[in-house]
């Protein structure tokens, strides 16, 4: 376990989130209620709980892909604390480029953009020289068993599993101090599942803080330094602390 002497990379303080659906009779769904938690470098945290318990919402809020109406999400970016709820857009983009990596559940595929270019985009954004970036891209594509004859094709025509591996390759091609993974092992065959687990473990060993959603019990056991149950009855406790198992 992490001791309190260590500096967290992420400090979530009293965030709440509800969604109001104005065109569906104004239904209001409260997904997170006064949630607080700290996350540390070199730590793997697994989020569990039934669908709708706010796991993906939490990841998206950390990434500022969802608005953060209440509370603070403090992230250590280049040795400074930044509140994602208040950061200027340009800073959010910089943080996404260097500090927070996020692998969504589904790849947003673009026509006419090759799989290799999709994968190396985070490196190019960091101004890495193209040749070097492509070399890294090829390595990770190879590791994730994407056949070489697909590298120069757009991922639009790829199968769901292939698209997810492109998405993962893109997420792991550059190191991030904080890595958010939304069901990274869903739709993978056993060999690729193992590779992804290895990649995650290596990232953690290199000091990344990984927060992931895994439904598979053995994935959870294999990876987690801690498991956070996001079930409503767990997170709505007055202590505002999710249960650590």
């Amino acid at each position: 376990m992490m001791d309190d002497q260590m500096d967290p990379i992420l400090n979530i303080i009293n965030i709440s989130k509800d969604f109001v659906f104005h065109h569906q009779e104004g239904i209001r769904i409260k997904v997170l209620d006064d949630f607080s938690m700290r996350f540390f470098p070199g730590q793997a945290t697994v989020l569990t709980g039934p669908s709708g318990s706010g796991k993906s919402t939490l990841l998206k809020m950390i990434y500022a892909g969802y608005q953060i109406p209440e509370g603070k999400i403090l992230i250590r970016h280049k040795k400074e604390w930044v509140d994602m709820a208040k950061a200027l857009p340009s800073l959010v983009y910089e943080i996404r480029q260097h500090t927070i990596g996020y692998v969504s559940q589904f790849l947003r595929v673009l026509p006419r953009v090759s799989a290799l270019d999709t994968v190396i985009e985070p490196l190019i954004a960091r101004r890495m020289e193209t040749g070097k970036a492509e070399q890294k891209g090829r390595q990770i594509l190879e590791r994730l068993r994407i056949p070489e004859n697909l590298w120069h094709l757009s991922a639009t025509t790829f199968s769901g599993g292939e698209q997810q591996r492109i998405n993962l390759a893109r997420g792991f091609v550059a190191p991030y101090p904080l890595l958010l993974l939304d069901e990274p092992t869903a739709s993978l065959d056993p060999a690729n599942r193992k590779t992804v687990m290895d990649l995650i473990r290596e990232a953690v060993q290199d000091g990344s803080c990984v927060i992931g959603i895994f439904h598979n019990r053995s994935d959870q056991k294999e990876l987690a330094d801690r498991v956070i149950d996001m079930s409503p009855n767990m997170t709505s406790q007055p202590s505002s602390q999710a249960l650590e198992v």
């Binding site: 659906f21 104005h22 065109h23 608005q67 026509p111 954004a125």
Partner: protein
């Protein structure tokens, strides 16, 4: 992103309380926003929401009824609404680019493709013919038009090629700000994909500062850092592009986002 008058560094553009009325009809009302250098913002909303009116005011193509448009020009941080006509024309011509939905409006159809690009360079004072042709050729290649077509008239080009030529002609003089009004509308999907891809690469490579007016939310997401949603001449919601599209709060934005058909 609030900017106090006089505060430095200046943003590239600061629009303050801008209103445009056509007689008694409102075009856009009390619009305020800022654009930083290297930033792309998308303005989305349905037809008649005032987004094109707003863009045309910024481009100096419409006179505003009220408000200010501060632009960080090479002549200083000045209000385009209160600049004398001659200086305004100079700034608009050499420091802004405007890509319209209708390429017939944005191109000179009786001048060759290379001429459309070269014209801007000549207006900027370049005289060396060989140099102008060389730059024109490079730009045609950048926007994926065969350089062999350089001496052809744009009227012989397809719609997608015309749009790409318009973009090249606008970018060749390296303007401080690019304004685009529905650049992908009216094109076939496959043609659109190519145009969007060219635009995406240019935005990344040149760190363009751009205002993109579009009703296509997928294009808006792909190209813009931030989005402003307009309805009935006003801004109803704004924020990071993914926040607006994945987590819309306002009823109108929710309607807009949920109305898209996913193939």
């Amino acid at each position: 992103m609030t900017y106090m008058p006089g505060e430095k560094p200046y943003p590239l553009l600061s629009v303050r309380n801008l209103s445009k009325f056509y007689g008694k009809t409102m075009g856009c009302h009390e619009i305020s926003f800022e654009l930083g250098k290297g930033e792309v913002i998308g303005i989305v909303g349905e037809s008649g929401s005032g987004k094109s009116t707003l863009l045309k005011c910024i481009a100096g193509r419409l006179t505003t009824t009220n408000g200010s448009i501060f632009f960080n020009s090479s002549y200083g941080f000045i209000d385009l609404c209160r600049t004398d006509e001659m200086l305004l024309r100079k700034i608009i011509r050499s420091e802004t680019g405007f890509v319209t939905q209708n390429s017939v409006e944005g191109l000179r159809m009786t001048v060759s493709a290379g001429g459309n690009i070269g014209e801007r360079l000549m207006a900027g004072g370049m005289r060396h013919y060989g140099q102008i042709r060389k730059i024109a050729r490079q730009w045609l290649e950048t926007v994926e038009i065969d350089a062999k077509r350089m001496d052809d008239l744009p009227s012989t080009f397809s719609g997608g090629m015309q749009q790409r030529l318009q973009i090249a002609a606008n970018l060749v003089t390296d303007p401080r700000i690019i304004l685009m009004d529905e650049p992908t509308s009216g094109l076939d999907v496959s043609v659109q994909a190519r145009l969007i891809d060219v635009l995406r690469k240019l935005v990344a490579r040149l760190s363009l500062s751009m205002i993109l007016v579009t009703h296509d939310l997928a294009v808006a997401r792909l190209l813009s850092h931030r989005l402003y949603v307009m309805k009935d001449g006003r801004i109803v919601e704004s924020g990071l592009s993914d926040q607006i599209l994945d987590d819309p709060r306002e009823p109108y934005t929710q309607l807009l986002v949920s109305s898209i058909l996913k193939p």
